[in-house]
């Protein structure tokens, strides 16, 4: 079609089949979809999923099973699009674009590693741990999970089965520490002056992590959410303020293309 232009290996939107659906928490559903294409994703990347709304919905991968060509999507029902997604059943098809965006950079060997997740920010951290736990040797791994209440501490068991230390915090104290992930994060940074952190969750949580890591000498990667249009870099809807200029002439970079994962030093986060 684009003969002669080597750069044009045509991607496109495509259909994938839901092979399994399970309710994992109130208003939270995990869909396992079959798709070798999506299963080529890096942890932290996302699929842009067609729903009945005007725009597609960005959803991260909760697990990436390259061997079986399957990925997981954990969806929290918060509006028309996610409600529709949560109602999909095994056998249904989803139309997707992806995998999209820049995922997490792999952890560095030899450095302690903290994965800090809140709400539906937890799934991509699981995908990250799954991908790199056995390929990168790190001396210590801790997973710090936060949620409103015990019922919403999604994937805690999955992490447990990977044999890593899991600390939890809930707003209402119904499981783990009473409060946010912040105290566990601070405590961990106190012990590990060097190290690496990957965080994903609600903007308020990421802002707090951004603040407390200000004087920490480790590396912090934050996976952001932003309202998106195209999902592929064309519309400049999904921007976040950054220190170095992105493309298109401003201090803004695109969450869908340069992100969703940014190094904290890149961001201007208030």
């Amino acid at each position: 079609m684009n003969g002669g232009k080597g750069m044009h290996c045509m991607k496109r939107d495509y259909d994938v089949v839901v092979v399994q659906r399970r309710v994992i928490a109130p208003q939270h559903v995990e869909l396992i979809v079959e798709s070798p294409d999506l299963a080529s994703a890096q942890p932290g990347q996302f699929a842009h999923v067609l729903t009945p709304g005007m725009l597609r919905r960005p959803i991260s991968f909760s697990r990436i099973d390259r061997a079986h060509g399957q990925v997981g999507l954990i969806v929290q029902s918060v509006g028309i699009g996610t409600e529709w997604l949560c109602n999909r059943q095994a056998g249904d098809r989803l139309n997707v674009l992806g995998p999209l965006g820049r995922g997490f950079s792999p952890p560095e060997a030899g450095q302690p590693w903290a994965l800090v997740g809140g709400g539906v920010g937890i799934p991509p951290l699981y995908a990250a741990l799954q991908a790199w736990q056995n390929t990168v040797h790190v001396p210590q791994v801790v997973v710090i999970l936060g949620a409103r209440a015990a019922a919403y501490l999604i994937m805690a068991d999955d992490f447990g089965r990977l044999g890593v230390e899991v600390r939890t915090a809930t707003d209402d104290g119904s499981a783990g520490q009473h409060g946010t992930v912040l105290s566990a994060v601070t405590e961990w940074m106190g012990v590990h002056r060097e190290g690496q952190m990957m965080a994903c969750g609600p903007t308020a949580m990421l802002q707090a992590v951004y603040q407390v890591t200000a004087n920490w000498s480790g590396r912090t990667q934050l996976a952001l959410e932003q309202r998106m249009g195209c999902g592929i870099g064309a519309c400049l809807a999904c921007v976040v303020a950054t220190r170095s200029p992105g493309t298109h002439g401003s201090q803004y970079q695109r969450v869908c293309t340069e992100g969703p994962v940014f190094d904290r030093e890149e961001l201007v986060f208030s």
């Binding site: 005007m54 725009l55 674009l97 309202r227 195209c230 592929i232």
Partner: protein, 308 residues
């Protein structure tokens, strides 16, 4: 069926479907999802003399059958565009239209002049929805004299085909259209987005960082069809219609209202390949409604008893 469209100053589209400015980036972004060469053309994002930062996020919000955006015309400026984006555009085998913006008449002239020397730019689309910073921030598109001044300045420095994109946020866009045609515009494109707003109930504030934004998408279609109809029967130049097109039937609706070609924007976010599908379906849709050519369809609903 021949889908080619002949426009002024030798501009030829291989078909009447052009990607709308601001929804297709600078070309490369969608090029791995759509066969760009199959399109009638692409209009790139608005280009100013210097980089514009754009508005703070959030920049999009959904409304019933519509989309609000407040991108704020973020762009790298004409120099960066020429250096970084034209090389890719040189590989594209379809018409490239540069959408130009400015805060003063001189800024518009400057961008047009810089692009006059770029053979890859086949035509200019002058976006006059920008605020005129010298005249208190009212948009160039809301005053016929200011719109005239912009087009006049652009015409002085370019012999490329030029279309002016009119804003629907005035009482009588056709007066603006007539004014820019008098100033030398070869075509009119219509319409840009209608100003709208939404409230984020949870956040208790306007949903967009820019407070108000531009409404696009299917919700806009009846407003756009009416504007194209009103403009097409008053100006003697081709009109490029747009606003909410989703299907080949929608394209036919714009043609029948008087458009010679169309642009397609928001629906591309949902279906990157929709433009190509529309191009494929257009001949059979024209035939289904009894038209043997594009020209037969253009303006077909204006004739026959519709009082001017």
């Amino acid at each position: 069926m021949n889908l080619g469209v002949n426009l002024p100053r030798g501009l030829v589209l291989k078909n009447p479907i052009v990607a709308a400015s601001g929804t297709f980036g600078f070309g490369p972004e969608y090029s791995s999802y759509v066969d760009v060469d199959a399109l009638g053309g692409i209009a790139v994002k608005g280009i100013s003399p210097d980089p514009w930062p754009g508005n703070p996020p959030p920049r999009v919000w959904e409304t019933p059958a519509g989309l609000l955006n407040s991108i704020g015309l973020q762009n790298p400026g004409v120099d960066a565009f020429i250096q970084e984006d034209i090389p890719f555009l040189n590989s594209v085998k379809t018409v490239v239209i540069a959408n130009i913006i400015g805060h003063t008449v001189d800024e518009y002239r400057h961008v047009a002049q810089r692009l006059q020397r770029e053979p890859r730019i086949d035509a200019l689309e002058v976006n006059i929805s920008c605020p005129n910073i010298k005249e208190g921030g009212m948009s160039f598109g809301s005053d016929p004299d200011q719109a005239f001044a912009v087009m006049h300045a652009v015409r002085e420095v370019t012999d490329k085909p030029v279309m002016v994109k009119v804003s629907p946020n005035v009482a009588e866009p056709w007066v603006i259209a007539q004014s820019v045609v008098a100033a030398g515009a070869d075509m009119v494109s219509a319409i840009n987005t209608v100003i709208g707003m939404a409230i984020d109930l949870k956040a208790r504030r306007p949903a967009l960082g820019g407070v108000t934004g531009g409404l696009s998408g299917p919700a806009l279609k009846p407003i756009a069809v009416r504007m194209v109809y009103e403009i097409a029967r008053r100006v003697g130049v081709p009109v490029i219609g747009m606003g909410g097109i989703q299907s080949a039937e929608d394209v036919l609706e714009f043609l029948m209202a008087g458009a010679k070609a169309v642009m397609v924007g928001t629906i591309t976010f949902q279906h990157p390949t929709r433009m190509v599908e529309i191009i494929r379906e257009l001949p059979s849709v024209l035939q289904r409604y009894g038209f043997a050519s594009l020209d037969e369809a253009t303006g077909a609903a204006l004739a026959g008893g519709v009082a001017l």
